[in-house]
């Protein structure tokens, strides 16, 4: 099976909410910064008053590679897209772009979140918005 995260106490809730189909970002109650990865303090101001807020799941492709080789079970799926997705709400995260033709991916491509079941857990993934590719 493909790997899933082994969360640490500071990331546990973020991954637990992915498991129930909810994408969140960390939010600072002191300076309003939104950020990923989730952590116990704000990287903008150092406040401990941070929590998770749900996001729309919409974003765009900031950059990407098309892996023509992959580790372990990923090898069978090559070529596949590994992208950095800039969420509408600001923070960026890594994902695959689940798409038939990797050449259809471009900078700024609008994408939305989906949740892939992997064993007991879910993994957030992105697909192009309908009608964009």
């Amino acid at each position: 099976m493909k790997p899933v995260a082994s969360p640490t106490p500071d990331t546990q809730e973020w991954f637990d909410r992915i498991d129930v189909g909810e994408l969140t970002v960390a939010h600072c109650q002191n300076c309003a910064l939104r950020f990923l990865y989730p952590r116990m303090c704000c990287p903008g101001c150092g406040s401990r008053a941070v929590g998770l807020i749900p996001v729309s799941g919409r974003g765009s492709v900031a950059s990407w590679v098309v892996n023509h080789r992959g580790p372990g079970v990923f090898a069978e799926e090559a070529p596949y897209v590994i992208a950095l997705v800039r969420l509408e709400e600001g923070p960026m995260l890594m994902s695959n772009i689940l798409v038939e033709d990797p050449n259809a991916v471009s900078a700024g491509l609008p994408v939305r979140a989906e949740f892939e079941q992997r064993g007991e857990r879910r993994v957030v993934q992105f697909v192009p918005e309908v009608g964009t590719v």
Partner: protein, 385 residues
């Protein structure tokens, strides 16, 4: 107090063999290089009172050599760690914490003798937020911003291919380089695709090898009976940023290179036009492009054309990666030591592909996927005037 020129490199050497050295562990490669560097400096292990290393622990290197140090630096922030070791030694020697520091690197990158497998720790943010998406390690994660760079600045595949083409020209002049055959843009684009837009020819080698430096105060350096004149440390800088590529502040530049590099240039009091020779850690072909811009040698988005127009090639205005670089010379894993070694050779005038009249050389290292950086500005006696 300025530390410009306060310390000097009095010994510099690589392991006796590079490439495939299956009969030596990583620790042995540290020691082999250390013995060569000590011989170069005309010193014995007992003359060393400070040890710095990454990959292996400095206490293990010290013990192997019978050194009882009074200064240890185990900074390990990836491939640029050795630049940071030199910077820290600059402060330590200048303030009298120790007098003579040995910096060592050794890695059995290819044969994997006495090496741990590459595998990010499960609790790391990289393992949690990136590994589930199937990156092939650095070849996927390091160049992930290149498509963005192409989109913003219009770099073509052909321009990007010129980085390995030009570096191979330098390697062809260096008998110790692993890949010495000239290549063309078409050869690069015909090489296997690893993580598009990155082809195999855009990726560094994977080799066994080591390197070491001996550092001491400028005053002591002049009194030693070393094989070569001292190479002075004019400036040094370091910085870091995100633990994961998705947290980098920019995908088309490196804040760590910019911050550390510009601090080093400022401390060294050198202008860009004063730099005779440049090394920029090339784990992948885009890193020198980012580095040229982050250090301000060219404007944003101009580096690809600068390289394609042969400015960094033999006979160009700004010779870059003149040993052939990680792409063609050697790359054990933590390549920064080899960038420093080539800068030292160029300032000494002893490089296989020697550039005419090098008084100032800059060596830029990176660690992780732009997560850390360290820069050294090295100079000849003439730069102290």
């Amino acid at each position: 107090m300025s530390l410009r020129g306060a310390i000097a490199i009095v010994g510099a050497a690589e392991s006796t063999r590079l490439g495939k050295v299956p009969d030596m562990s990583a620790l042995q490669l540290h020691v082999d290089a250390a013995l060569n560097a000590l011989a170069d400096a005309g010193l014995e292990p007992s003359d060393i009172d400070g040890v710095a290393s990454a990959g292996e622990l400095p206490n293990d290197v010290a013990d192997y050599l019978g050194i009882v140090p009074e200064y240890l630096d185990a900074t390990n922030v990836g491939g640029c760690s050795y630049m940071l070791h030199v910077r820290h030694a600059m402060a330590a020697i200048a303030s009298g914490l120790c007098s003579t520091v040995l910096v060592t690197h050794g890695e059995s990158g290819r044969s994997r003798v006495g090496m741990r497998p590459w595998d990010p720790a499960p609790q790391s943010m990289m393992a949690q937020f990136e590994v589930p998406y199937g990156p092939l390690g650095a070849p996927s994660l390091f160049p992930i911003g290149v498509r963005r760079y192409m989109a913003e600045y219009g770099m073509s595949e052909e321009q990007f291919a010129m980085v390995p083409v030009v570096q191979r020209e330098w390697a062809s002049r260096n008998p110790r380089a692993k890949l010495r055959q000239a290549i063309t843009v078409d050869d690069v684009l015909a090489s296997p695709v690893i993580a598009d837009p990155v082809h195999l020819s855009h990726c560094c080698l994977v080799t066994d090898g080591g390197g070491a430096l001996v550092l001491t105060s400028a005053d002591r350096a002049r009194k030693l009976d070393a094989a070569a004149p001292p190479v002075y440390v004019l400036g040094a800088g370091e910085s870091s940023e995100s633990s994961v590529v998705s947290g980098l502040s920019s995908l088309t530049s490196s804040r760590a290179i910019e911050r550390g590099g510009r601090a080093a240039l400022a401390q060294a009091e050198v202008a860009h036009a004063d730099v005779d020779h440049l090394m920029i850690y090339d784990a992948f072909a885009h890193v020198p492009l980012y580095g040229l811009e982050d250090l301000g040698f060219v404007g944003r988005g101009e580096a690809a054309a600068f390289v394609a127009d042969r400015n960094t090639a033999p006979d160009g205005a700004l010779p870059l990666n003149t040993n052939g670089g990680g792409l063609a010379y050697t790359h054990t894993g933590m390549y920064g030591m080899f960038a420093i070694q080539e800068s030292v050779r160029q300032v000494r005038g002893s490089a296989p592909a020697q550039v005419e009249g090098v008084d100032v050389s800059v060596a830029v290292g990176v660690g992780g996927m732009f997560m850390t950086s360290g820069t050294l500005v090295l100079g000849s006696e003439a730069t102290l005037g």
